[in-house]
């Protein structure tokens, strides 16, 4: 009886020490704050804040290197949300970064397109479809309206058009991001994403 208690106890202590050591040895230098900030940013990857994308901007905010008012696509909503999260005062959008516009999508005037693929290379979200010497087109549902494709176009055939809210384009407001991705979204209630038992 005593030996059983001792054996299990010692085993538990040993494993505890091992895990404690591992927790120090394999400590991950991740900042959970970055994820939270990144979740608030609009993910247009437009670079108007002066950082290469939304994630680097989130990291800069978390390190206190960047102000929270440098995101034109997010506009006031994002500034207020960030101010809430970080406990800072909201301030107006930084004019040097750009101005807040209604949600836009790019539109390619297809009769003018010469198929140079320059805009495809510029697009951060792969929303442009086309090949060399073939007409290009925008996948409207993927376009974040970042305007990065407008400048590279040699024949100026890309125009930004505001998204009209109609029956086709109206969406429910985005829910808060889920803690993890479920395996699939079909109608299979029995199979939980658990790998247990």
């Amino acid at each position: 009886m005593l030996s059983a208690l001792l054996a299990l106890g010692i085993l538990g202590v040993l494993f505890g020490l091992l895990l404690g050591y591992a927790a120090i040895r394999y400590k991950v230098e991740g900042d959970p704050l970055v994820d939270k900030i990144d979740a608030i940013l609009p993910q247009t990857q437009c670079g108007q804040c002066g950082y290469p994308g939304c994630r680097p901007y989130a990291e800069a905010i978390a390190r206190d290197e960047a102000d929270i008012n440098r995101c034109p696509p997010g506009g006031e909503t994002v500034i207020i949300a960030l101010a809430d999260l970080l406990g800072r005062d909201p301030k107006p959008l930084d004019e040097t970064c750009g101005e807040e516009k209604p949600k836009m999508v790019a539109y390619i005037h297809e009769e003018l397109c010469i198929g140079c693929t320059l805009c495809i290379q510029a697009c951060p979200v792969d929303a442009i479809l086309g090949a060399a010497k073939q007409m290009h087109t925008i996948i409207e549902s993927e376009c974040t309206g970042c305007e990065l494709c407008v400048a590279p176009c040699p024949v100026d055939c890309i125009e930004m058009v505001p998204v009209k809210q109609g029956l086709d384009s109206w969406k429910w407001p985005a829910p808060p991001p889920p803690p993890y991705e479920r395996p699939a979204a079909d109608d299979d209630p029995a199979a939980e994403p658990a790998g247990a038992h």
Partner: protein
């Protein structure tokens, strides 16, 4: 050498942990709806199953048997498995954030995967030595992975197939699993004994 090869083939095909021994059915049904997650789960399980088979052999051989405490096997194996999973998670998180992201929630859930405990206990029951235990654990894991990936690929196809109303969802999945199990019975003649 032949002995280990036999153990490997026997655990992967003939005595498949899922389809013949019916262990680890939860992840088999739960994580098999997308090939990608199934592959991730298979990878994680392979690693943990092999490692925990080795560790629980060591605990059994050098702690429980000398002290005459065989009746503590189940609880100490559960302890070992939990520690191995937790340790794996930490190491993977540090060394390969990408793999950690792929495995995600499935990694900690392996703790309660009955295949892992089952293999540890079967090793004791069949009185395997150190290397035999390791190979048995690895073989069981490969068998689990094989079946999980195959099943996930099939379910991806079934998802787009025109299944009769009454069989949609879990029903057709269970029928598929049953058919797979029957198919694996065909391997029974492969190795004698």
């Amino acid at each position: 050498m032949t002995e280990y090869a036999l153990i490997l083939i026997s655990t992967v095909l003939v005595n498949n942990i899922v389809l013949v021994k019916f262990l680890g059915l939860c992840p088999f049904m739960g994580v098999s709806r997308k090939l990608e997650t199934a592959t991730g789960m298979a990878l994680a399980t392979t690693f943990v199953l092999t490692l925990s088979a080795i560790c629980s052999y060591l605990v059994n051989e050098f702690l429980l048997i000398p002290l005459d405490l065989e009746y503590l096997q189940t609880i100490s194996f559960i302890l070992v498995i939990a520690v191995v999973v937790q340790f794996t998670e930490m190491v993977v998180h540090k060394t390969s954030p990408v793999l950690y992201q792929v495995l995600g929630i499935f990694l900690p859930l392996i703790t309660t995967n009955c295949a892992v405990l089952g293999v540890a206990l079967l090793n004791v029951q069949q009185q395997h030595g150190f290397l035999q235990s390791a190979v048995y654990g690895f073989g069981a894991a490969v068998g689990f992975s094989l079946v999980l990936v195959l099943f996930a690929a099939m379910r991806e196809r079934i998802a787009v197939a025109d299944v009769p109303e009454a069989f949609r969802g879990p029903a057709i999945a269970l029928i598929t699993a049953g058919l797979m199990s029957m198919a694996f019975m065909g391997f029974a003649g492969l190795v004698k004994g």
